[in-house]
């Protein structure tokens, strides 16, 4: 690294880092500085330090919600989803449980189908799966306005709770409520949401801080989803 001092006392490298972080360079000068940051670790750290000094200024920039299609474009620009999802990969022990939980989920589903036959016109069911596991089975009774959710292979997380979301064709998740790993939960389905709960709408489960998401949208990872189908 050059240790030439500017007339005013800062090393030339630090000034170049400041100019790059501030964004005043252009053309060959900017390109050279960007390339140097990519190969010279010491210089890159100087640039980062300047970015850190300046970043709080961005608090003055007004937040503007981008249109929803930007996320769709980002999502479709990502590589195809792999089955070795980080979360699931770290929960290897679940694999040992897969046979037993599969059988349990099948039994639950059979039970729900049996219940469903009692009121065949209004019932919708979704098997909520993720990472090759069936986690919950949900049945919507649109006459009573309820969602009954039976846990299958869901294993509780010490710090986060499962939250259920309804995602109609408009793509905007609506919070339905918190689920339990150890017992069936029956949640109320308000009329405005009941009209959105149709064939092909999706139920999704995300992991949220205790008490659930406070933003009105999932904040943690969506671990499982299932499409609603009429019985």
């Amino acid at each position: 690294m050059s240790d030439t001092l500017d007339h005013s006392g800062l090393p030339e490298d630090d000034l170049l880092a400041a100019e790059l972080a501030l964004g005043v360079l252009e053309g060959a000068e900017r390109t050279a500085a960007v390339q140097r940051a990519a190969r010279d670790r010491a210089f890159a750290l100087l640039v980062e330090a300047w970015e850190q000094r300046l970043a709080p200024w961005a608090a003055e920039i007004r937040e503007v919600a981008p249109p929803p299609e930007v996320w769709d474009r980002i999502s479709s620009a990502l590589p195809a989803e792999t089955t070795r999802n980080g979360l699931w990969h770290s929960l290897n022990f679940w694999r040992g449980l897969s046979l037993a939980s599969g059988a349990l989920a099948a039994a639950c589903l059979a039970g729900l189908i049996y219940l469903g036959t009692l009121a065949p016109r209004q019932a919708l069911v979704a098997t909520i799966e993720g990472g090759g596991q069936r986690h919950f089975v949900a049945t919507i009774d649109s006459v009573r306005g309820t969602v009954a959710v039976v846990p299958a292979a869901f294993s509780a997380d010490a710090t986060r709770v499962p939250e259920l979301w309804l995602i109609p064709p408009d793509g905007r998740p609506r919070a339905l409520g918190l689920l339990r790993a150890d017992q069936t939960v029956v949640l109320a389905l308000p009329p405005e949401l009941a009209t959105l709960a149709k064939n092909n709408a999706v139920l999704a489960v995300s992991l949220e801080p205790p008490g659930g998401s406070t933003t009105g949208l999932p904040t943690g990872p969506v671990i499982a989803t299932g499409k609603l189908t009429s019985l």
Partner: protein
Amino acid sequence: MDLDSNRSLIAAALNRIPAGDRAALQTVYRLTSAKLFGVCLRILGERAEAEDVLQEVYVTVWRKAADFDANRASPMTWLIALARNRSIDRLRATRVNRNMAPIEGATDVPDTTAGADTALESVQEHARLHGCLDGLASHERAALRGAFFDGNTYDDLAKRMNVPLGTMKSWIRRAMIKLKACLEQ
């Protein structure tokens, strides 16, 4: 949700991305896209360009999340720098800078109330930076502001403030030296 838990939520989600966790990227997007879109829009001045760059930014986050080190930088610092750099690259490539109105020393006023929108950065950090910016000469502050918020180059700033290029370079350099000394006190 308080500031610290929001910050750690973003950092935790960034750390899950290198394993291929798409939901983690979506979490980062939900928590930060309004701020980053604001940054892109401020620099580029045009929605379609800003949307394009915002897309590039998050695809870069997906690819480069492993470079983020929570011990070195706050997640918002890292993301804001990424959004500014991509916006500036786009601005330089299109060679159309929409933010070129003349700057008078006296019109050095923030475009929004200072600190009005600090949901994602620490209020103290912003106050401290502001204190140090207030210690600069008004022409120095105006030049830094044009560079940071409008993505102006040395050349743009010299034109906007009607001074020779060499003068602008020494204003900016001197201002950055003073700023660093003040922030390190």
